[in-house]
Symmetry: C2
Amino acid sequence: MHILILGAAGMVGRKLLDRLVRDGSLGGETITRLTLHDVVPPEAPPGTPVPVALSASDFSDPGEAERLVAGRPDVIFHLAAIVSGEAEADFDKGYRINLDGTRRLFDAVRAVGEGYAPRLVFTSSIAVFGAPMPEPIGDDYVSAPLTSYGAQKAIGELLLADYTRRGIFDGVGIRLPTICVRPGKPNKAASGFFSGIIREPLAGAEAVLPVSDTVRHWHASPRAAVGFLLHAATIEGARLGDRRNLTMPGVAATVAEQIEALRRAAGDAAVARIRRAPDPAIERIVAGWPRAFDTRRALELGFTAEPDFDAIVRAHIEDELGGTVAA
Amino acid sequence: MHILILGAAGMVGRKLLDRLVRDGSLGGETITRLTLHDVVPPEAPPGTPVPVALSASDFSDPGEAERLVAGRPDVIFHLAAIVSGEAEADFDKGYRINLDGTRRLFDAVRAVGEGYAPRLVFTSSIAVFGAPMPEPIGDDYVSAPLTSYGAQKAIGELLLADYTRRGIFDGVGIRLPTICVRPGKPNKAASGFFSGIIREPLAGAEAVLPVSDTVRHWHASPRAAVGFLLHAATIEGARLGDRRNLTMPGVAATVAEQIEALRRAAGDAAVARIRRAPDPAIERIVAGWPRAFDTRRALELGFTAEPDFDAIVRAHIEDELGGTVAA
């Protein structure tokens, strides 16, 4: 089986790649070839036992998508995107990569022809939803995004469903929850604190909490995200019918519940490392975000996330900290 | 006020144009200039008292949209589209006109700059909805189309909302019901019989009914459609908030109810001109179409349709038949 990953150098892309190389197979089929692409040079895990083609380019450039699918990959993971903040700051770049790039990829698959119709897994986002929203948001709720990123992802979903209906590929779109706990350094994303208030105290460092304890949001671990991608790559397409885009399961947790999960995992000393510094700008942004979902369809189709926020904290401690936390 | 109509030679476009010329104003402002565009040469009504620029071209061709908005129209009616059947039969043409053309128009408005932000009225369609659907379909129901036309219109809606949020223009998208009674000759559209079973008997001709009496669908007259367009052009944008796309009100009527309205308007002789010829292919297509809507938002915002199917029949008799029907 030949697998293509677009966005292979990103956090989720790298974790997916590690898992694929560790498993050596996908859905019972041996992986025989990998093609890894990103705008920065991607890397194969050391000792990857199959041929790996690495490429770094802007996949929205004319000809790039054609080149990437020329080897007729059996499964395409399309994780490449300009993130929310940048797509909002740079209108042209967001539409060029997130809309035109996605469409060029889809059209490149179509251009191969000769019965080629790979499984194509597209990472969408809960940013396709915008206020006002019910709580929880069900599977039939309208996509009315309030960011250009959300609009671009919602458009990608519509294209995915139509191209799938046409038999061009066998697409599955998954709307990822906010990934928590993100490993690595704090970043400037408005959502960064959701991970920061767990990751930093567990590493013995201070974290800033810019919103109130009552803020509720929708989370899944990086490990769960990889599980979503693998399941999306292997599920029987016909089970999805024509609705090819699914909100992924997750954990609806308030900041207070996140903090209590941290306390249970690492004690009062860890919680004491959270410094409250209310930021009205971030409060305002976060107020427009979805808080909880009823993801019945994804659950019925076998997608699984953590049962509670304690499990999200545990996944971070196990996967990133070797099982230990700062005293 | 300078008004641009794309799709000015179509049935709805011509009726809109006639009304604008008759009124001489829009929302209390005098119309001083008209720009009419279509892929076939549009015509101004005889005696139109203001300068009219006529143009016929493919508006999705590079440079065309820029040319059309160069005169900075205050209101743009974007009615141009490849219809459902053709967009399904010709994948490339549908996407080129309905998606790329629409986006080029939106980008052309953006390119004008210098504070130019016209009202832009976009005709979408209830084809953005696909089965399974609740009955009635509410304002928050997901757009999950089952045709390429529906996907292209849903994408247009997302672009319209995002470009409006960005201040590029002041957009209002209106999802038209099936327009009934369409004047003119019978056509090959799968929906053609909804109009045919009224129009043909009223003109003394036979009509074919390919589906059962129990089929229920969502209708509005051409006169109501023009009313929607005028209201969409003049309503205060801020009243819509960020959700710029609205399902228009209409009449949910079964074929049996349509026939009884015909009987009340023109008697048993007219009804006797309907010949039943069940067509499983058309039955199947129509089964996937929406049947009824709860259009609370549009009604609250002042959009009005006929109260019942009798009024739709009356509108046809008054507007197309000079008030008289065949004996």
